[in-house]
């Protein structure tokens, strides 16, 4: 399952929280033209550096699929930064 929602939270020094909820699929759809260009660029780079393009695509796919469940939280004094992928 690819990530569906990425939550980014940031607590500033003044104690106020900034929250971003990023729905991955809609964002990917909106950015799909750019993504297509990026994939093309990646394929060309693979050809230049003689890296297996299907292998690279598979590897990136696996990384994406494995992302849900990741959580990253850092609090330092009044500052805090949290990222969670669901």
């Amino acid at each position: 399952m690819i990530p569906q929602l990425v939550t980014v939270r940031h607590r500033r020094a003044n104690g106020r929280w900034l929250r971003f909820y990023v729905p991955v699929l809609p964002v990917l759809l909106v950015l799909s033209p750019l993504l297509l260009l990026a994939v093309l660029g990646g394929l060309i780079a693979c050809r230049i550096f003689r890296v297996s393009a299907p292998g690279a695509l598979r590897g990136i796919g696996r990384l994406l699929w494995a992302l849900p469940g990741s959580r990253f939280e850092i609090e330092e004094g009044r500052m805090a930064f949290l990222v969670s992928v669901r």
């Binding site: 550096f49 292998g55 990136i60 699929w65 990253f72 004094g77």
Partner: protein, 143 residues
């Protein structure tokens, strides 16, 4: 399981151990035998899914409060990352080897096979690192 927990609580009530020690024992007990979550019934023990790194530091040197870090990484993500390393072209590996040798670290990365790293990730399940210092505590474990 409940028996062990009760024993710990009794020891705490009798003053044989401190509250911190009791908490640590209960944590260790919970880690030793995680309650069988749904979907992990296969095998003798539930396979851990995440690598956790937890840091709690009360030492607020120069900062206006304690430092806390809580990282949870799916083991599957580590495996996927490890598999990506097999895509590094051999020319790049030889260049890295040369630079490592120049820096006094003679490690031959071409000898590092993806299977070896995968085995390493497989056996991460058994890792528990518990560092306790006055004012800070670091834990690395799988759950």
């Amino acid at each position: 399981m409940n028996e062990h927990r009760r024993q710990i609580l009794e020891m705490l009530a009798e003053g044989k151990i401190t509250a911190d020690e009791a908490e640590r024992l209960i944590d260790a007990l919970a880690r030793e035998q995680p309650g069988s979550p749904p979907g992990t019934a296969s095998g003798t023990k539930g396979r851990p899914k995440y690598l956790r790194v937890v840091l709690n530091s009360e030492d607020d040197s120069g900062l206006d409060g304690p430092t806390r870090m809580n990282i949870r990484i799916p083991l599957q993500l580590l495996r996927a990352g490890v598999r990506l390393t097999s895509l590094i072209p051999p020319q790049a590996l030889t260049q890295v080897n040369a630079q490592l040798a120049k820096s006094g670290v003679p490690i031959d990365l071409t000898q590092l096979k993806p299977q070896h790293i995968e085995d390493l990730v497989e056996h991460l399940d058994d890792i528990i690192v518990d560092l306790d210092e006055p004012g800070s505590k670091i834990q690395v474990f799988c759950e």
